[in-house]
Symmetry: C2
């Protein structure tokens, strides 16, 4: 049994947040004054290629692949391990200090959009793509989009943190969140056994939201947990993950705002040519 007894009033005495300790705080708000850069396009994205970041760059590249030229964007790098999300400029766009955050400067007043799910809905409705305008098909996409936004915290902040990042391997949290991760994988597998895409026969923002988390997970790109979670057993989810991996929008979007790993990655994106060059297609 644990011999820990919580105090009457919690105090921030913990330096033990593991790999992410330096960016977790018990208060919100800016730590320093600094403006954000602004590029030439109407859409200004401030992000990093975590799964939540990938959602938005994939969405923008899918829109461009569909011929929506107004979706041209500048993608600026936010180094979360260095505290860029606590600048006064970033906090103005997203007071929650999380990537991704978007400013739409196409109208008379700039509009801030934060939370990756809200950004997907915003862009889909703005351009009339990847989310039906009304009816049961729209509702089903929204059902699964909200499913992702409420479920991924158990995969990322729960399973991923305790399996991959926490300073020790704690048995109870690992079991708790592995159970939930397996249930989520099984749910998606069953849904994709009956449907080509997450919300039915049409590719949508539900796929774009879910692929960076559960697609990357079953493709072995997250937490080195492929064997532990036996991801090979979710065959329909594997089929879908590989199918989406072949899409031009996914291939282009996933490499934006990356600073780790292999070649073929891109810290910032200011034009299509930046991605062409990174992919060796220039």
């Amino acid at each position: 049994m644990s011999d820990y007894t919580p105090p009457k009033v919690w105090k921030d005495e913990s330096e033990s947040g593991g790999q992410w300790a330096s960016i977790n705080r018990p208060i919100s708000g800016a730590t320093h004054d600094k403006d954000l850069p602004v590029g030439k396009h109407p859409l200004q994205l401030y992000s990093l290629a975590t799964p939540n970041g990938q959602k938005v760059t994939i969405m923008l590249e899918e829109l461009l692949a569909l011929g929506v030229s107004e979706a041209e964007y500048d993608a600026h790098l936010i180094q979360i391990m260095e505290g860029d999300q606590f600048s006064s400029g970033f906090v103005e766009v997203n007071p929650n200090s999380k990537i991704p955050a978007l400013m739409d400067r196409s109208g008379s007043e700039p509009v801030r959009v934060f939370e990756s799910g809200a950004i997907l809905v915003y862009l889909a409705d703005k351009f009339g793509k990847l989310l039906p305008a009304s009816g049961a098909a729209r509702t089903e996409v929204m059902n699964w989009l909200f499913w992702l936004q409420g479920s991924a915290p158990y995969l990322g902040g729960g399973f991923g943190h305790f399996y991959a990042y926490a300073p020790e391997k704690f048995e109870y949290p690992i079991n708790r969140f592995s159970m939930e991760a397996k249930r989520q994988l099984d749910l998606l597998d069953k849904q994709l056994a009956e449907n080509e895409f997450i919300a039915g026969p049409e590719y949508s923002i539900a796929d774009i939201a879910i692929w960076p988390w559960y697609g990357n997970l079953v493709l072995g790109n997250l937490y080195e947990a492929a064997e532990f979670l036996d991801v090979a057993s979710y065959t329909h989810l594997q089929r879908w993950a590989k199918q989406l991996e072949q899409r031009v929008g996914v291939q282009r979007g996933r490499i934006v705002n990356r600073t780790w790993g292999e070649d073929g990655q891109l810290a910032e994106r200011h034009s299509a040519a930046d991605i062409d060059a990174a992919l060796g297609k220039a």
Copy 2:
């Protein structure tokens, strides 16, 4: 240090989920055949008065208070500790087996709506209330609605689980999730210092989503954590929580689908008179 080493492949050997162990499973889908009840109104809600459940009953009662008579609904009780969410009927409405779930039978084909956030957007857009139809005001409501859906898992599945429900008091997870809960409370407090409601000067589905979690928390209705998290120090959040507590829609909606605690609560709601009776107003 922990002396636990995760196995190569996770296996469900844990019986130690604490208070909720019986309803956590590593697979999805139905465990038994049973149809859901269907009442007389077009809107059929299947739910329980957890914070996520309260969002939807408060929304429906706010709509009725605004004079939207088409928002009349039957609220059926789903006893999650008894596994009602694993019936074949429930899984058809929500394959994720979580409350709340809604069937809209007002059209030629019934439409399923699941995830509390999706239900709020669906009802708001269906009736044209509590969410602006377009523009920056709509975007800001959606920003905060998605903020809630991605943040509450850290409060509920993180802080609440480890502080109140887990079989032992584990120090590291309690510190991790207390840090995040405090940051969220501070963020809301700062937002409500500058704004009457969450997304600005108008009451919206962002307030309706956030109050059942963070309003109940700072009013001392969740996890018996008021002293531990020093909720009294968030004075602007307290002001807002108490202000909303006085609304007719909140007072009526929060008591629906409850089976615990005091008098003045209601297991099922099939007409306004059911709530009048429970509140002693009949």
